[in-house]
Amino acid sequence: MEKLFLRGSESLALGAIDASLKFYAGYPITPQNDIPEFLSKELPKVGGKFVQAESEVAKINMLLGASACGIRVMTSSSSPGISLMQEGISYLAGSELPAVIVNVMRWGPGLGGIGASQGDYHQATKGGGHGDYFVPVFAPYSAQEMYDLIIKAFDVADEYRTPAMILVDVMISLMKEKVLRRYDKGIKVKEKKWAFGSKKEGDQKIIKSLYLKGNDLERHNWKLYEKYQKMCQKEVLYEAYLCDDAEIILIGFGMIARIGKSAVDLARERGIKAGLFRPISLIPFPERELENLSTKCENFLVVEMNTGQMVHDIKRVVGKDHNIGFYGKPSSYAPNPEELYLKIKEYLEK
C-alpha cells in the first residue's frame, strides 16, 4: 500500500485506474482538465482506452457503448459539460448501464465562472435528466476520499447497474494531501453476464431503454425505484463530527465540511458546542442518520456554496419544528473558518 502525496484530481484518476477503469472519454473543460490529461497518459499503460470526444454529448454516449460491453467506464467534466450529458445519463439509467461521471463543479448558470462552487447539487441529486431515476452521488472532501470514493462509485455503479456520480468542488480536486493507495495491485472486477462479450453467447442480448408494450415501462420504472430504495438501505455514507452533545450542528458537504470542521473547532475553543454533519453520499441521502440527530439537537446551520439547494432536503428531513439556518456563498471564494464561526455565533444569538 503506497503512501503518496497527490492532488485530489490525481488521486481520483489513480483510484479509477486501480478500480480497473478501461474506457474514459473526455472533453476539455476547466477546472477538471487534469483528470483527462492524467488518464490520456496513464490509461493506455494499463490497457485502457482514452478517447477525446468531439463534445460532452458524444462522450456520454461513447460511455454508453463501452459500458454495454461490460468494461468499467468513466468520464469527467464540469458543470456546463454535465448539463449537456443529461440526456445520456438518463439513457444510462434507463438502460441500466453502469458508468461513473465526475463533476468538478464550477460556477453557473451559463458560462459563469471557473471558481469553486456547489451550484450543481440540485442537478446531481434531483436528476438533471428526464424521467424517474436517481443517480448515486458521492461528495469527497479530501484527496484520500477522492481515491476511495471513485472506487466506491465504480462498485456501486456495477452492483446496481446505474450511472454514479462524484460531485466535487475544484478546491478538493486541486488540494494536495497524503493518499494511501489502498489497491495498488488493482481491484478484480466481477464479470458482467448481462453485457456484450466477445461474441454472442446463447440468446441475443438487447440493451435498451424503450419499453412500449403493456405495462413493461411501469414495471421497469418501479424496478429502478427499488434499486434506489436498496441503495438507501445499503449505501448511505456520512460523517458526524462532535455531534453527540452539540447545541448546533453545521451541515455541509465537500470543501465546506472541511472548512466547517475548522469552524467547529474554533467554536468549541470559544465555548460553543458545535458539531458538523456531513453527507458523503448525497444520493442516497443520510436521512435516517440526520433524523436521529434532530431528536437531540434543535439548531442546524446549513452552509453551501450556492444560494440554497441542499437546505431544502435538510428542511424536509429535519422537519419544520427545528431551527434551520442557511448561509449561502455563491461565489468563487469559499468561506473561511472564522466566517463560519461567526455565522454560528450569530445564529445562536438570535
Binding site: 502525496f5 471557473i114 478546491m171 472541511r258 472548512i259 475553543e269 472564522e338
Partner: protein, 189 residues
C-alpha cells in the same frame, strides 16, 4: 491549537520563481516526518496574470481548511504578492521578503516579524545564478520556524527530484543551507 504541532503558510510570487516547488518540498518534508499536510495552489483566472501562490498547512492531526485565513508565515517573492498577502498575515506573523525584487516602500504593517532577504544575491553567491532564490527563502523559513528539520528538507529534495535532474540536488542543498545560515546570522545580531 498552538500547543499542538501546527503551521500554516502562504508562498507567493511570479510564475517561474519556483513558488509551488517550494511549497511542495515543504509538504514532502513534513510527510517524511509523519505529519499531516495540505498544499493548495492558486488556480483559475488568477494564473493567467502570471502570479503563483500556494498555501501550506502542516499539522499533527487532520487538517480542516487548507486555506488559512491568516497564515502565520509567508514567503513573498513579488510586489503584487506583497500587496495581496501582507494584509492577511496573522499578527506577529513571519514575513520573508525577497528584498532583491521588492522595495520596502510597500510594507505598511508594523506588527509583523518582517525579514528582508537578499535571496537573489545569496543564490548567485552560492550557485552562480539567481534561479534558486526560492530555496534560499525556504531554507530561511524552515530554520526560523523549525516546522521541519533541515535534514528532512534536504532528504525530500532527493526523493522528489527525478533521475534526470539529479545533479541539481547539491545546488538546492547549498541554497537551502545558505538561507538557513542567514537566519542563524540574523538571530545573532
Amino acid at each position: 491549537m498552538s500547543s499542538k504541532y501546527y503551521f500554516d503558510f502562504v508562498f507567493s510570487g511570479f510564475g517561474g520563481q519556483g513558488i509551488l516547488i517550494a511549497g511542495n518540498l515543504l509538504c514532502y518534508s513534513a510527510i517524511l516526518e509523519n505529519r499531516e499536510v495540505t498544499f493548495f495552489p492558486s488556480y483559475g483566472v488568477e494564473m493567467r496574470g502570471g502570479s503563483a501562490n500556494c498555501y501550506v498547512v502542516l499539522s499533527d492531526s487532520q487538517i480542516g481548511s487548507p486555506i488559512p485565513s491568516h497564515p502565520m508565515g509567508s514567503i513573498i517573492m513579488s510586489t503584487p504578492a506583497l500587496i495581496r498577502f501582507l494584509p492577511i498575515i496573522k499578527n506577529n506573523g513571519l514575513v520573508l521578503i525577497n528584498s532583491d525584487i521588492i522595495s520596502t516602500d510597500d510594507i505598511n504593517r508594523k506588527d509583523l516579524d518582517i525579514r528582508l532577504i537578499p535571496a537573489n544575491k545569496l543564490s548567485i553567491d552560492v550557485i552562480g545564478n539567481e534561479r534558486l532564490a526560492n530555496m534560499v527563502m525556504l531554507g530561511y523559513l524552515v530554520s526560523a520556524t523549525k516546522c521541519v528539520k533541515i535534514e528532512s528538507l534536504v532528504k525530500s529534495i532527493k526523493e522528489v527530484v527525478s533521475e534526470k535532474h539529479k545533479k541539481l540536488i547539491p545546488l538546492n542543498e547549498k541554497a537551502i543551507l545558505a538561507g538557513a545560515e542567514l537566519f542563524e546570522k540574523d538571530k545573532r545580531c
